[in-house]
């Protein structure tokens, strides 16, 4: 009998552990995943006047934010803590941090879909200084009439090109003006890859789940953008997939004229692709302005360029894909002093000399504020040049994708298609039917 009791107890313990593990994962698991906990030394004198706690989304900018926070504290005495969530862990980290008594006063959402989770926590920024400094009201993130967030960085992505290698192959940047040009040149480079000393035209299309956002999100933005344009809408519950054929063409090009066998893509990452590009093994590499700092270590500004992802619909007028999925929000549940301190800090970041300089030079951001400094980022300059030349930037519509789950579905289908274990119809289904299902489930 005693033995039975012991085993029963053991059973209950394990079961309780198990459930606690699930429920508690939001708090226990993710605090460990928070990147570096930088603490600006808090001067005790100003402790009563509110403090700022910023949960940063961008791991690559963590060090810069820590420095900026320190500079602000030195200048004003307001303590600023910046914590950076590990890559891909922002939502989980935010969820657990927000439940704490010392919750972030300043956090990020990625657009309308991300806002759905957090709108109850967003302080209405209407009338605040930072909103007044925006260059356009297109950078406000609204829920009804309330301004719940402001975009603080504008980014672009396209096809990063190794100009030296392109010239070695006998082409100039200007030779690529459309999808057909791109295909012709990529096919040619692929055919002569041994002669040119490259492994392929495009860096590997890494479909590992850590990296497939380049294709399930960023590349998938193009068919969505053109469909929205054609239909004159800016979001939808049901996508039609009008431009999926072009999506397929481009994806086919990426995986055919590639550095590796498409069967191996499922385990390749964006880091692999970057390494191939840095080693001169590939001429083209789809990614964004945020890659500039890692590429600039090896290449000079003349050696690399970003060209639009020519989609074969309106190539003549298409510019880079430019937009944002980074919106700052202020925690409405924070104390009044903290909210005031946070608003001041936000505004300082985008208006003061120290702030704008750090944002432009150290982080390499283009910020949509009147006081912005010019960024030395070559890709950002190219984006401006394209716009000046009359090209229309492709807006970021992936913020309207119905859920992470939808992206994952498309990503899986693309991976299977690339490896030949699935067909394109599965991608279509995941894209079109998946959208309707997920949009309905998000209701």
């Amino acid at each position: 009998m005693k033995k039975k009791l012991v085993s029963l107890l053991a059973c209950a313990t394990v079961a309780a552990t198990l459930l606690a593990g699930c429920g508690g994962s939001s708090s226990a698991g993710s605090s460990a995943s928070a990147g570096s906990t930088g603490a600006a030394a808090a001067p005790a004198a100003d402790a009563g006047a509110g403090h700022v706690y910023y949960l940063n989304f961008k791991p690559e900018a963590d060090a810069a934010w820590q420095d900026l926070a320190k500079a602000y504290t030195e200048e004003t005495g307001t303590p600023v803590t910046v914590v950076t969530a590990a890559s891909g862990e922002y939502e989980t980290t935010l969820m657990s941090e927000m439940a704490k008594s010392d919750a972030p006063t300043m956090f990020q959402v990625n657009g309308p879909v991300g806002l759905a989770n957090w709108k109850d926590y967003c302080y209405d920024l209407t009338g605040s200084e930072i909103v007044g400094n925006l260059t356009s009201d297109a950078f406000e993130l609204k829920d009804g009439d309330a301004i719940d967030g402001v975009a603080y960085v504008i980014e672009s992505y396209g096809i990063i090109t190794n100009v030296s290698l392109l010239e070695k192959a006998g082409y100039k940047l200007d030779d690529i003006k459309s999808y057909d040009d791109l295909k012709k040149i990529a096919d040619d480079i692929q055919a002569r890859k041994d002669e040119l000393g490259v492994k392929g035209a495009f860096a590997s299309t890494g479909m590992d789940s850590s990296s497939d956002w380049r294709f399930k999100t960023h590349l998938a933005n193009l068919p969505i953008y053109y469909e929205y344009q054609a239909d004159g809408i800016d979001s939808t519950k049901e996508i039609k997939g009008t431009y999926l054929d072009q999506y397929k063409n481009l994806f086919d090009l990426y995986i055919t004229d590639s550095t590796c066998d498409p069967k191996e893509l499922s385990s390749k990452t964006a880091d692999d692709a970057r390494a191939e590009f840095l080693d001169g093994e590939a001429v083209f590499y789809q990614n964004g302005t945020w890659e500039y700092s890692s590429l600039a270590e090896k290449f000079s500004d003349d050696e690399i360029a970003m060209i639009p992802i020519y989609f074969g619909v309106d190539d003549e007028n298409q510019g880079l894909c430019t937009g944002t999925e980074n919106y700052w929000c202020v925690n409405a549940e924070a104390s009044e002093e903290d909210i005031a301190a946070t608003l001041d800090f936000m505004n300082w970041c985008v208006t003061s000399e120290t702030g704008t300089k750090a944002m432009a030079e150290t982080m390499g951001f283009t910020i949509p504020f009147k006081t912005a400094e010019e960024s030395p980022n070559a890709f950002v300059k190219q984006d401006a040049a394209y716009t000046e030349a009359g090209k229309t930037p492709v807006s970021w519509n992936f913020t309207t994708m119905p859920s992470e789950n939808w992206k994952n579905g498309v990503g899986s289908a693309l991976t299977a298609y690339a490896a030949g274990t699935g067909d394109w119809d599965a991608v279509k289904t995941a894209f079109v039917d998946g959208w309707a299902t997920e949009a309905a489930l998000a209701e």
Binding site: L8, L19, C22
Partner: protein, 284 residues
Amino acid sequence: MVGKSIKKWWPVFLLPTAAAFAIGFVWPFIWGIYLSFCKFTTVKNVKVIGLGNYAKVFADDTFSHAFWLTVLFAILSSILINVLAFAIALALTKGLKGTNIFRTIFFMPNLIGGIVLGYIWQTLLNGLLSRFGQPLLALSARNGFWGMIILLCWQQIGYMMIIYIAGLNNISGDLIEAAEIDGASPSQILFQIKIPMIMPSVTICTFLTLTNGFKMFDQNLSLTGGEPAKQSQLLALNIYDTFYARSGPQWKGIGQAKAVVFFLIVVIIALVQLRATTSKEVQQ
């Protein structure tokens, strides 16, 4: 003397553990059940909505797929782990040379965390699969499933082996000797004496492997991530996915409801298993 001290000082020994248990398990557990009846984004700010979450547990068909896959996985991995662990334990109780080194080596995988193991094995298995032109782990649900089985076996066999070794060492030599004198064959000794005598170890090992199989999360997350298209997703990962991969606060509650359903299933299965194996235990 000792008894008297214990009577006086027992709170010093028991209370810290009891407090940790209450804070770490009991309280989150009660919260977890409460949250499954709520709609919430953070646990600070919840709204009770009744049984609605439970009605939606099956709203996406991934839950039942994950459930049956988990059942299959738990049963298969338990059988494999126990059989192999017992076989190794038998081999390592024969008094061969180097027994201790082997015991240590077999036990070592158990000391590495599941996430790390998942990534290491992903590289290993993918290398092997691509060598043979097979679809990689993330592309084939079958390969992913077997990958997880191999990984879990590798990780857990050593631990179960230790328990079996302890059980086997506890069998009195007199019994074996008596059986040998009576003319029992080695297989008779194994099946008629050794196995019945170590039934308590079998109980605890099957219990551990079965519940571990059901609860497996880290290895699933890092080895296959549920790919392709959630086809290799086990229950715990499915719950996690429900919690984080969908938009809208309603999914948090649904994920929590799934966790409660999951809990009940594991408790029932564990109780049935305990009853079944305990009844086979014999007293010496």
